[in-house]
Symmetry: C2
Subunit: 363 residues, 2 copies
């Protein structure tokens, strides 16, 4: 079974193909790459060993001009210094505006190669081949690309859409279990903010997904991409409802910053962040106790952490004050509005402190 | 006399105000900056001393939150390393997506601050206050922003439009004469590719402009911006006719690269490049001898260089092969098609060599 979702933005359409072993099938790449076009595969050292040759072999049926740029593997390399590896490779091999980048890997290389594509000669095209569950459900849709700055995560980047996303489920077989679980975090988020029926489906299928059941994974990736695409189609530049996709992220980013990037995976921090955001939603009467329990149970069942590390409350508040959603100095939270709906709001800091303390933060 | 040109792109409109001492008038800034909004003035060390305080004083009538980022003055600083000065300043002062950049200076800071605005938090707004003739007629329109890479000029950047351009002619009084002349080069280019009547007007007014006659300058900047805006409106991403604005630039960029950036000013290289492009146009029968003479005379009268430095032909060809307009390995030239019209074409390399040799290049 292969499923295809078409993402329709006002000025750009592209397909997301989700299936098994589709990395090896030239028909998914053919419509987007011209004969003799130069292609740069951007990947990381880990994924390169597993899949770069396979992808290059598939693409070689279209063009002989295939080059590979390998980045080191890890969030700590998501900086200008390593982005420049891509630019240098493109220039050394005389890539022009008609050339194309194919990104092979997870969120970090996806963000970096996407930003490189958006800014090389002021914009060339790119194709995404996400190889982690997180990037298949999250980075494939929305066009957020970029790098980190020493003073903040994802602070430099662009909104930039791919020509196509080819999500090969088979690549999840080589994904460490911990990263698979981290990807499920965003899937749970999609259900919480947009679709209570999807939440129920997840309650029944989470174990299949953890056991790499292909059909459950394809279904979840399809539904999650569809939910995210709906938000993005309505609000591409995140002026408004797209921010709902940040459910759990305000707390989550603060955990990542406090622990140092990479100590907690993004999905793990978001999982724990959702526990706190659901708690806050329940205290404010936006969901009831039973609904909060369903969320907590699902997060726990998926193997995500449910307690915050012992981070000081003052550090949480400081980190959350740097969030891109904020304006005029107030922290903006995405909270639920019943299960399957979200809204953006500011919250009394005393209540935020209470939730932090009750979920593992310290004074 | 103040003139205003409205640039209408499909998804964005903005005004270009052209006048004397308008840097001091809050009414031109008021519609684009909110009360209490954070504003970062990005400028260079030279322009800062002359106009930063004046601009800050004008803006202080709207908001007290005004910060200044000073970049060193020169094309050689148009790199990531110096761009990061802007990002660091923005982050140190907790700028958010609602904050705005105001660029004060010439093309280099304009390109850098524009790219910083386009990529900070994936895009914040910016206002341009160009202080050189070149940036008033050229960088004000078209949204090309970016930085240089060690392996090529303007290789990394974005298309990104300002909220407004406030072109204060008074700033030209402090501009070195050589830079004023370099700005006239792009004005002559606009006449050559788009408007033979404008060419005739320039023939009668070039001396007034060189003597800083305010009304001639306002008129020329207005007409030049209008011509450029017409091209950009029809082809924002330079897929097609926008490339005509590169008349003289294929040769010109090759001169800049060969001499090292900053040795020849961009406008000087383009002036000499137009001599060669007009020569090539005449040899191919696209313009006649008399028309070629009119162009040569006007370029000479404005004080621009008309002979190439003794650069080797092989170096010209190598440099021209790196042009962003090229595809499939062929050098693309913008040539005239009668005075006041242009087209894009490839040219037999023997003819290119002949033109290079007859205009100062060497074997």
């Amino acid at each position: 079974m292969t499923k295809t979702l078409n993402v329709n933005l006002s000025y750009h359409q592209y397909p997301i193909h989700i299936g098994e072993n589709i990395l090896n099938e030239v028909k998914y790449f053919q419509p987007h790459i011209k004969q003799n076009q130069k292609v740069l595969i951007v990947t990381n050292t880990t994924v390169s060993q597993l899949y770069a040759d396979k992808l290059a072999k598939t693409l070689s049926a279209i063009t002989p001009h295939i080059y590979i740029a390998e980045l080191p593997d890890g969030e700590e390399y998501k900086s200008w210094q390593y982005l420049d590896i891509i630019f240098t490779k493109l220039l050394e091999h005389d890539f022009d505006r008609q050339s194309i980048i194919t990104v092979l890997g997870g969120g970090v290389v996806g963000d970096m190669a996407g930003f490189a594509a958006s800014s090389f000669m002021r914009g060339i095209k790119f194709i995404q081949v996400p190889t982690t569950l997180l990037s298949q459900v999250d980075s494939s849709v929305g066009g957020k690309t970029g790098i980190n700055h020493a003073l903040g995560k994802n602070m430099i980047g662009a909104f930039c859409q791919p020509q196509a996303v080819i999500a090969d489920i088979s690549t999840l077989k080589t994904l460490p279990k911990r990263e698979l679980i981290a990807g499920i975090s965003e899937i749970i988020k999609h259900a919480c903010i947009a679709d209570v029926n999807y939440l129920a489906w997840l309650e029944g299928n989470i174990e299949n997904m953890l056991n790499l059941d292909i059909n459950s994974l394809i279904e979840a990736i399809y539904v999650s991409c569809k939910i995210k695409a709906d938000f993005v189609q309505k609000d591409e530049k995140e002026q408004n409802i797209r921010a709902y996709l940040n459910f759990g992220h305000t707390f989550g980013h603060a955990i990542e910053t406090a622990m140092g990037y990479g100590v907690w995976l993004h999905g793990e921090a978001v999982g724990c962040g959702m526990i706190m955001a659901a708690h806050l939603s329940q205290l404010l009467g936006f969901i009831n106790q039973e609904e909060q329990n369903r969320i907590n149970t699902l997060i726990k069942k998926s193997g995500l952490p449910i307690y915050s590390p012992p981070i000081k409350i003052s550090e949480y508040i400081k980190n959350m004050s740097k969030d891109k959603k904020n304006h005029a100095g107030n922290i903006q939270f995405i909270l639920l509005n019943g299960l399957g709906q979200a809204h953006k709001t500011t919250v009394d800091l005393n209540l935020v402190n209470k939730v932090l303390l009750e979920n593992g933060a310290v004074l």
